[in-house]
Amino acid sequence: MRRSLFGRTWPNAVAVVLFVFFVFPVYWMVATSFKKDTDIISTTPVFLPLNGTLQHFTRAFHSQGFWTLVLDSITVTSCSVVFSLIIALLAAFAVTRMRFKGRKAFLLVIMIAQMAPWEVMVIAVYMIVRDSNMLNSLVPLTAFYMMMVLPFTILTLRGFIAAVPKELEESAMVDGCSRRQAFVKVVLPLLAPGLMATSLFGFITAWNEYPLVLVLNKESAQTLPLWLTQFQTNFGDDWGATMAASTVFALPILVVFFILQRKAVGGLTAGAVKG
């Protein structure tokens, strides 16, 4: 391969520019949250906040009801993800390992459901929840978030289950396991990375959801996305506190994404059928 010096360096140069483009907003959020007020409103931006401060975080943490909101967000997100995992696991197993009438129809419905435009259905959801006197509660929020991530969870888990060799299950059944035992003892452990990968995306969707909670929970039982947008309206030009709030909100996702991303992709059952 003969490539000129230019031909060898330009991809790297472009990569560096792209790196800056994609990282900068995230960096700027974190950097601003640690800056002193005088550095935030300086005419020449301070790119490295070396003499930082934690006062913005203190303000964010002490804003009214912050810890309740954190708890609400965690509850809603984890409950909806766990419920959708359980329901999806049952459905995905049936769809991948069994042949029955209506299987294709079910899959088609799920594929369409995955594209459901929730953003424009908030009015209907609002009416339904209001008519059952459940406004300002975490229960409907959890249920609808569960539904939002369910189709994706089913379709992804289907792929992961299909990747587990059927022979493993069969040999367990030969050894005297019932179908259910074979599933719990053999298939489920192998599915762990798949479950993690799937829950990651469910976690992100539920943690981020904004339109529904905006309409349903105007008075109480709110979650962090709502807090963040209101925080900004309430604090106006206090960018230090707003960025600290954004950092607090984004950090769990960024961390979880980085940890799980590698595990999720990692070899699924690489040697499980070796003999």
Partner: protein, 331 residues
Amino acid sequence: MTVQSEGVQTHSPSSGSAGGPKAPVLKRQRSGSGAGRLSKATPYLLLLPATLATLVLLGYPAVKIVLISFQKLNMFELIQHTTVWNGFQNYTDQLTSGEFWHTAERSVFFTLANVVLIMVVGSLVGLLLNRLGKRMRLFLSVALILAWAMPVVAATTVYQWLFDSQFGVADWFLSAFGWHSMAHYNWFSTQLSTFAVITLLIVWMSIPFVALTMYAALTTIPGELYEAARMDGAGMWKSFRFVTFPALKPFFLGTTFLEVIWIFKAFTQVLAVNQGGPDRLTETLPVYSFVEGVGNQHYGVGAAIAVLTILILLALTAYYLRIILKQEDEL
């Protein structure tokens, strides 16, 4: 009727020699019709929770939005809990109003511009990832994953800060590099500049998915194909045109339509960046439906706009949906 599980079906013919596998077959025969009926019902029992959830939590709202769209449902009716049907009134009102058509046109162009940008730049970044050395690829992937994982609401807030007219770093950057009239420019004062910020935000958030998926797809193309193309005298463009593109056609098709769907219904970014302003000039259809329905408490009108939005989205993605429906045989 062959409504049994595959696992059991494949047992008897494939592994008859072992002797062991006979056991489950025998057991099935002995336990008779009871177990047979049970195993017939098993898949349906397993699908029951998912089906119920979909019907109640998605099917019902979908029907409800259509029902509401045929009602006069303002604050009064909402408080009184009364149902006032008004036929196609909401629809005729919308379809004859200039505002609806302006918003629809805006939405379509906004979607088009974003999708083209995302697909072109995303594919180029994907190709670049494929060309980079191992270390640089990891370096760039980290940046892409960061942007990808960034929560929408947090990203929106950060972009408001980046493009702040007083202390925003974007204005400083533009003026420092010679475009002096951009110092303290208020991005949220005109329609075009607000859309520019929203577009940049959406493109920034969406490229990583396209680029990383594209890269993953590229690694599945065997290198021999490129070698053969090079021996036939194909340059960079030709080997893309005749090797990469045909191999990745399903990827391009699927991703483009997914992006169309995601961007057409993008709500949080458009609403949170500038609340649809200035003068409601950056409202896209989902935001318009929200502002009319929930904001101005004309729920019937909002629902009609929502239904029309869904219909436009269906029309935009009809081609892709047809392909999905045709795939049925391969499911």
